[in-house]
Subunit: 571 residues, 2 copies
């Protein structure tokens, strides 16, 4: 492609409302333009990159035996009512009425439509397994769209759905997709982790997220450097400490703690180690007594709400107790709560369960207790894992200590079981002649999101650094003063023609711009391989090559440059 026939539109500054580096760089590099909050036009440079992502995803899905379809963007509510998602999903499901006052949604995913297709088309076990996928426009009406294409409202997603005869076969489909996802992200050249993820209300133990590693990621990924253990923080198990609980060493004492509301206040006021304090979190219960439930984690630990939400006796979805119900149940306001004297259900995190002489709230405003011991001062609690792991925790597989990275979720594989097939009565005839519900899995890839994630992982102060696989153009030829110098023109056109003939995705930046603009644009846009051709160099028979990650350019003999570049591309 010649730049003069393409459309390059770079900006010196990103618009003020851009809130993350990938969004700023995509705007500056002319990849996207904002149309509304979370809604973008894909400009030529961005679309080209998006298509590279799509092509890799499509090739690997096809290779894995999945079959492409395209389900509609606009879907009738009646299907969404069958599964109950019409009511259960929040405002992120965009609902609207057509001219005849019939209800529709704009698809955020397509479980309903694909299950409707399966129940119409897949009649016999002989037709199984099947995996249908689409690469299609999706819409989620995010309350606060942000981070550009990473949390936009309109986006492109690859969603696949497998239909199997049995849970075992569904497991094979899952493994097949898992392997395809590895190939996809490997091919893209991204650094990522596949991490075990929570399966939520659906249950089962088969769910993995594919996380692109980036410091700016929204998700915390837990892993063990000494093994292959990896999970997202919602799921990662905090194992019990290896030691037993020490015997009580102090008597329980009331301490007046005026104005002390937080653990930090408490530690400062009492000058005690934070590891001796216990944080009390009160959540709504689901019992008829209306009593809330008390959750205890060590003062320096964080409650894991996903884990807490699954506890017996706790309201679903998890809800923090209101101040009124806390005062009614504890006789005190938040800030001074604890287990001593509380009549309701108490869950203690595994770490709390081995503490002695704890510092807790006194269930009386501005009063705390020291020297609190389970079994002596209050009943033994139910011991559970309800906290987020922290760096240095023992890995659940016992192979070493846990580390934590930030990540951006770009893919998700999920074993659904018969949830949707049962809700929509989608069955096939098995070899015993009886109808059975499809065992399903769903597999998503955030196609447009990948671009943002790739940039968050690969950029510097000058701009984007694309991998070869994702770059809008793999190679850019930057002629210095092509309009003035016949030698430069000839060398640039010659290299362009040679590389094109070899099937290289090369851009000849023949725009009539100053050399400084061309060079800055090439770094902002982030083509991985750049050849600069100038009169001065040519006189010595040289041109300059530079990989976008290189500190400096390399002089290459002009006669060898095509072969040199092909070598860099691994040809």
């Amino acid at each position: 492609m010649r730049a003069s026939q393409f459309f390059i539109s770079t900006l010196k500054e990103a618009p003020g409302d851009a809130d993350i580096v990938s969004q700023k760089l995509m705007l500056r590099a002319g990849m996207i333009r904002k149309v509304a909050a979370g809604v973008y036009t894909w400009m030529p440079m961005g679309l080209r990159t998006l298509r590279k992502v799509e092509a890799i995803v499509r090739e690997e899905m096809d290779r894995a035996g999945a079959i492409e379809v395209t389900m509609p963007v606009v879907q009738p509510a009646v299907l969404w009512q069958e599964t109950g998602r019409w009511d259960k999903m929040g405002d992120e499901l965009l609902r609207f009425k057509d001219r005849h006052d019939r209800d529709f949604v704009i698809q955020p995913t397509s479980e309903e439509v694909v299950t409707d297709i399966a129940r119409g088309e897949l009649k016999s076990y002989r037709q199984l397994p099947k995996n249908f996928y689409q690469i299609q426009t999706k819409f989620r009406d995010e309350r606060r769209p942000r981070f550009g294409v990473m949390r936009g409202r309109e986006f492109t997603m690859k969603d696949a759905y497998s239909f199997d005869r049995s849970a075992e076969a569904a497991g094979q489909s899952y493994d097949n997709m898992f392997a395809a996802y590895r190939r996809i992200f490997d091919r893209m050249g991204l650094t990522y982790r596949a991490v075990a993820a929570d399966t939520g209300a659906i249950g089962g133990d088969r769910s993995h997220e594919f996380q692109v590693i980036a410091d700016t990621g929204e998700d915390a990924i837990v892993y063990c450097p000494a093994s292959d253990y990896a999970a997202n923080i919602e799921l990662a198990e905090a194992v019990a400490p290896a030691h037993a609980r020490p015997a009580p060493g102090a008597a329980m004492q009331k301490v007046s703690t005026p104005g002390v509301k937080t653990i930090a206040d408490l530690v400062a006021f009492l000058d005690c180690p934070v590891e001796q304090t216990v944080k009390a979190v009160v959540v709504e219960g689901d019992g008829e007594d209306g009593l809330p439930v008390l959750l205890l984690v060590r003062g320096d630990h964080e409650l894991n709400e996903v884990k807490a939400g699954k506890l017996a006796g706790v309201a679903s979805p998890l809800a923090f107790a209101t101040p009124d119900s806390i005062v009614a149940a504890f006789g005190a306001n938040p800030g001074s709560l604890g287990p001593v004297g509380f009549k309701g259900k108490v869950y203690a995190d595994r770490t709390v369960a081995v503490m002695a002489d704890m510092v807790t709230g006194g269930n009386e405003d501005d009063v705390h207790l020291t020297g609190v011991n389970f079994g002596r001062d209050c009943p033994e609690p139910v011991v559970v894992d309800i906290r987020n792991v922290v760096v240095g925790d023992m890995s659940p597989d016992g192979q070493g200590e846990l580390a934590i990275q930030r990540g951006i979720e770009v893919g998700h594989v999920f074993y659904l079981g018969t949830k949707y097939s049962q809700e929509m009565n989608a069955t096939f005839l098995d070899d015993d002649g009886k109808p059975k519900f499809f065992e399903m899995g769903c597999y998503g890839i955030g196609v447009s999101r990948i671009l943002g994630a790739a940039i968050e992982q690969n950029f510097d102060e000058r701009g984007i650094i694309w991998t070869d696989a994702l770059a809008p153009f793999t190679v850019v030829i930057v002629p210095m003063g092509m309009a003035r110098s016949e030698a430069v023109r000839e060398a640039a056109e010659g290299l362009y023609t040679t590389l094109k003939a070899q099937g290289v995705d090369v851009l000849l930046d023949d725009r009539e711009e100053r050399p400084g603009v061309l060079l800055a644009d090439s770094e902002l846009i982030g083509y991985p391989h750049r050849v600069v051709i100038g009169d001065r160099g040519l006189k010595e028979g040289k041109v300059e090559y530079r990989h976008r990650r290189d500190e400096a350019s390399t002089d290459v003999a002009a006669a060898d440059i095509a072969a040199f570049v092909l070598g860099k591309l691994g040809r």
Copy 2:
């Protein structure tokens, strides 16, 4: 592709609500499945064909120098309010509110968004001309979706928008797109006509429709077999008869015509030639007197509402007068109306203008007049072209008589001038340093609609007949009893491998189905080239080739079949 790894899902009967042959065949061939009225899932077989259309369109748009972008499906109302289309467009514009109660539309076209891009990105005449296009999901909330993908609500459209410095340059962009469209439809192998079309309220004389010829088409296309004149019926000029008006030959007479309401009634009652009768159509005027306007066409002609809508003094948009206003102005009800005694404005079609001794309504219920003559019995009318042409009319270019065909509109090129750029204040700096409005054109192709149109043009009682360019697979290999016969398997696999190696888009139908099913499916789906391989033939060293249009199969030596097929493909 092997059928066992693809997804073929044919139906014996189309669902009952399918209302046109292409819709029935697309459903039966498993190309689409209905999700809601006018909303379909593209099944693998249909999607493959859709992608072929998209690829041809994309290649030719790129070749023509247009630049691909992707504008969002969901667009903010604020842009549509700038052009006034938010209010002006009817219910086919799907409007909705997001969770924050802000107004949005689902794009039916993208003039607003692309003009917004242009005013942001194209600052100087040096950047012009530019042509941005997208192949993207569109939605029109049709009152009565029908004809499958031909008049669906969700559909795929290629829409392009050119931005030019001057009207002259815009004309070159228009010609460039016109030529690209010719290449596109030529490559698809469709029989089509480019016809001049009405430019509606925008004005200008540059608008062409690309119409695929099919008896079932919704549009009437007028053309002159002796020249290259072609126009749609809305635009086609009905020229004045060559002869002058004869002198009056009869006196005007009142005739009592009880119960006579229509021209047919009148002709039967008076036993007169229909060519002597005049049809009176009353439409609302735009004058302060509130008087309606009388339009006269010959009894056997049809009023052309597009032409009538442009007449001075006629309300815009065209509206037929209400019975009350007709009685008030004429003193009679519809069925007995005419020019004699009417005080308002009268337009006569050119054919009516040369009539003498006309039969008209008498402006008195159940009364008609014979022997009516302009200039004697009523004032001379204003003479205009307000009727649809009919077969045998003289071509406006004087080269012969007009013929009429039915067509399906699949493309439209349109010179917009500065309508949108003015409404959205979209300017560039010209070489005189002054801001000027962009001269624009818009260019649509109904990508998904083309499939329906291609089928309406090419089918028989057994199914679809695809052209090589559009077929889901160009060649199908149908092995008879591949599971039973090693010879059949070997021959089929060998041919499949050979053709694939040559880059042929070939399907090996290796499904375990009865031969009758495989053969019927191949004709229903309509692959253009079929090779049937059976044991009996192989024993004589023969296989059968049949083009989908052939009456019978041709025996071909098994050893020569690959070369034979390649020959048929023009290789």
